[in-house]
Symmetry: C2
Subunit: 400 residues, 2 copies
């Protein structure tokens, strides 16, 4: 198969994967970061009733017309309304009610005056108003924040703390969200040893499971980890066959190059996987094999950690983003200045880097087997084939 | 008590709260975003042994000196080493071993040659080398990525997917992290109704629990929710007294202004809370009361949702950041251009806004009781008292 560009490969994959359609109702306090499954409109006004923004006295504006320090208006205080009180009794002409912040305005009243702007007389049974109060002065109307029927959250939006607070203010206990895709992670290689026990000669600890698995967690997915396997095509094929129906996609690492033990070519043959592409015309992560098996995508990444991560960022992240209806996981690019130079190489490269104040710093050591210098990186620099870059030169960066 | 600036208030609080010192060992796959409790050094090299970066033949460079197309060197192939194989047998002069990517180099060998650069003869039992191969050509040395004893993660660093992958590559199964602070969230107010049931007249649904609770989750904390309470100072005091020993801090909302039902002044008296400050000289969120009770901070926020959020961002977030050893939660500021104008007001204000491409857009409606326009905001604009701002004017923004 021809080597193709990362862009062509991604288009092939995006054309084949579909957004997961099923949804579920979950409690608001479990829904942070989830994708809203349906458009939600306001079932009630917020605030739900006309209410006072301050502590003071609720009154009728007409009663105060013509009031002045010389000709003050006296109003009889008939009680106090606290926040939370139901208030159905009409306010009569010539009377006022004490009202607290957040309390419902009584019918008949159309304004309030702050405590500090009245004179309280006769032990609080009367107040003296020394100036006119306008209609709807210090008056919060029902629906001023949110009007009943108003659009609150659109289907496909990712729920933030603010969305959830709005839904709570509307009285919702739960919300319909897209189900998270079930994504498997399966690391292969005879060289892999489990962490937590001594390392036999010739073996390495399995860091890809953590590298890719924790990157997925950072993005909001909890991968289903399959125990790592050795390089046995029959066993690997049987394992994939046994679990694929529970999955919306499967990510593997290892055994996708051209060596004798690069078993995924055989695995694809054994299972009859529809191959989408094999190998990109870029490094690292060029050795990536993708296919569709029983309707599910298989993303087979390199066993070299940084190559696996590059393949993940270029192809898997946007693809699982589509499956999960997560538009924020599409490829995002930014032009950046290089904080150092790079000699030309004949192949397009993706170099790990950190953008800080618009400049991209990159480590001197960035071989595909190296993981230490991944720490702190927040992008991949896209270095075209044959390009020699001086410090200060501009390139495109793919943001993590 | 005097109204003070947000900065003075925060300093008072930061001076009183202490970083939680206890730590726990947790599995790597549960440790994403947690704060590393001790400095970790590499227990082994990575790679752990000298290994081949490619598929080909491992050999001794001295055997190839003087090789040319006219005078090729013949080497006997004595076997193949695969990734994961232990390899202790010394490579003899005049011989080569097939070697696969990631496989351990045998003792005695100091280079390898790619498969495509040799001629394979006699069914693979001999190879023909037509040029000299340099010492350590195509040779990855043990420790090239990480050297045994090297600093891996410093105490206090927040663990990213890359840190965790590095720890996995070193064979660690778990990591020591700071324990998360236990933070209570307690909403009060006679006006609060629980979501999920019809709204009685005069009541509002409790959105603060979700607003503050989900904002805390976004920052990596899972608050311990206490059931909301009415405005009864004795009951609220008893509740706080009953739970405070299980907490590292408690956040409340409601009842901190000057009204009759602003019960937290009484709660502080009943419990004998050491008052740190009451009220900021800014709006909204000016009504915030903080104290220390049995060594734990009490953060009593306004009942108005946006005022509560502002108090949370100005005071609580950096304070719980200190308790949790989360330096990333300290106040972060940025100068931004206003995308619209604002008339002067006599008081310092914090206006919700969204920074996009360096300009801060803010909603026309931003009263403290309003929550709808919090959606999408990523900062608070710090508008000085008395400042009239034109579109394009610069202000300081506190980043969420």
């Amino acid at each position: 198969m021809e080597r193709i560009s990362a862009e062509e490969a991604l288009n092939i994959v995006l054309d084949k994967v579909r957004a997961k359609q099923t949804s579920q109702n979950i409690q608001l306090n479990e829904a942070l970061g989830r994708v809203c499954a349906c458009t939600v409109y306001a079932p009630i006004d917020n605030p739900p009733f006309d209410r006072s923004p301050l502590d003071g006295y609720a009154l009728r504006s007409v009663d105060t017309s013509g009031a002045s320090p010389e000709k003050p208006v006296w109003l009889r205080v008939t009680g106090t309304i606290y926040a939370g009180d139901a208030c159905t009794k009409r306010l009569e002409h010539g009377t006022a009610l004490g009202i607290m912040t957040g309390a419902m305005f009584p019918p008949g009243c159309d304004c309030m005056v702050m405590q500090e702007n009245v004179r309280i007389e006769d032990g609080g049974t009367e107040i003296l108003i020394t100036g006119p109060v306008g209609a709807y002065e210090n008056y919060v109307r029902a629906g001023e924040d949110i009007r009943k029927g108003q659009l609150l959250v659109e289907a496909g939006e990712r729920l933030s703390f603010a969305h959830l607070a709005i839904l709570a203010a509307m009285g919702f206990e739960d919300v319909s969200v897209k189900r998270l895709p079930v994504l498997g992670l399966f690391c292969t290689g005879d060289e892999l040893a489990a962490t937590g026990s001594p390392l036999p000669p010739g073996k390495i600890y399995n860091s890809n499971e953590t590298l890719i698995g924790q990157r997925m967690r950072e993005l909001g997915f909890v991968p289903k980890i399959l125990p790592a396997s050795g390089d046995d095509a029959g066993m690997v094929a049987a394992k994939i066959d046994a679990v694929i129906e529970e999955m919306d996609g499967l990510i593997t690492t290892g055994a996708v190059s051209v060596g004798e033990k690069d078993i995924f070519h055989d695995v694809f043959k054994i299972l009859g996987v529809q191959k989408l592409f094999w190998r990109l015309n870029s490094k690292p992560g060029g050795a990536i094999l993708c296919g569709i098996y029983r309707g599910r995508p298989l993303f087979c990444l390199s066993g070299n950690p940084f190559a696996a991560l590059t393949g993940f960022e270029l192809i898997v992240k946007p693809a699982i983003g589509k499956i999960a209806s997560r538009g924020d996981l599409a490829i995002r690019k930014q032009r950046v200045k290089m904080a150092g130079g790079l000699a030309a190489k004949p192949v397009r490269r993706f170099i790990r880097a950190r953008i800080e104040n618009g400049a991209a710093k990159f480590p001197a050591e960035h071989l595909s087997g190296q993981i230490f210098s991944i720490t702190g990186c927040n992008c991949l620099l896209d270095i075209p084939a044959g390009a020699a870059l001086d410090s200060g030169g501009e390139v495109e960066a793919l943001l993590f």
